[in-house]
Amino acid sequence: MESLPLTEPVLLILLSLADQPRHGYSILKDIEQVSEGRVVLSTGTLYGALRRLLEDKWIERFEDADTSRGKQSYRLTAHGRRNLRFEVARMKKLTRVASLRVARES
């Protein structure tokens, strides 16, 4: 995959959209929750990443009840979901190797 590994904000945004479509503020809150408060994205960083993800067609706009209240929701495209799977598989492989090596050290 050409675009892997992903930056942490991008990975967290994709993970946030993996289970359901979300709007901007909901993505921010979910990332904060998933990372246990370690990663708190600013609005500027979030929308910079969303713009690139939209441009690369990893995510798309999604019309729902929030849209009518002025909150645009986003969801993963099939392409984005496939890339997220690749990234998760890559990280799993890396974690497995890292665990083996760390265990050997101790």
Binding site: E2, S3, L4, P5, L6, T7, V10, H23, G24, Y25, L28, V40, L41, S42, T43, G44, T45, L46, Y47, G48, A49, L50, R51, R52, L53, E55, D56, W58, G70, K71, Q72
Partner: protein, 173 residues
Amino acid sequence: MMIVYRNLLRLYPAEYREQFGEEMAAVLLDARAENTNKKWIARGRFHFREARGLIAGALREHLRVLTYAHVGLSLSTGRFAMRNGFRFPKSTAILMTIILAGVIVAIRKGEAIAASLPNVSQPIAPIHSAPSYLLPGVIAGFIFFYAAGLTGWAILFALRRSGIHRLADLSEK
């Protein structure tokens, strides 16, 4: 504080503002409402983070518009990635620099070869080597044309007649 944020949002390119401006303002409003009851240190940290994010984001977007560079989603691996959006002027500037470096190396090599040759002609007719103005001339010419190009572009940009503005006008129509 929302006034400050709205002004910071104005720093973004027009096209970006049109696409995301209102959404970003709504998110900032929600985030601010959530932080209202927090301690002043937490509020200060929040405002600093948001202001920094907006300024950095605006700079990044302007840079993207100016260079047509495609900022990827991945971590940098140090490899040179040739992508569709990566054309001008970054690639042209790099090529010009490589060509200039090649010319300088060739001149230096030529001078070194000339200096290493035995001076066989001295007994017949002494030759006084003229000072070489070629290398400084090439560098001065490069700097001059580069500066002229930049100045011209800056004037067009200030007059809102650069290629970017014309493309923006076309897309608006």
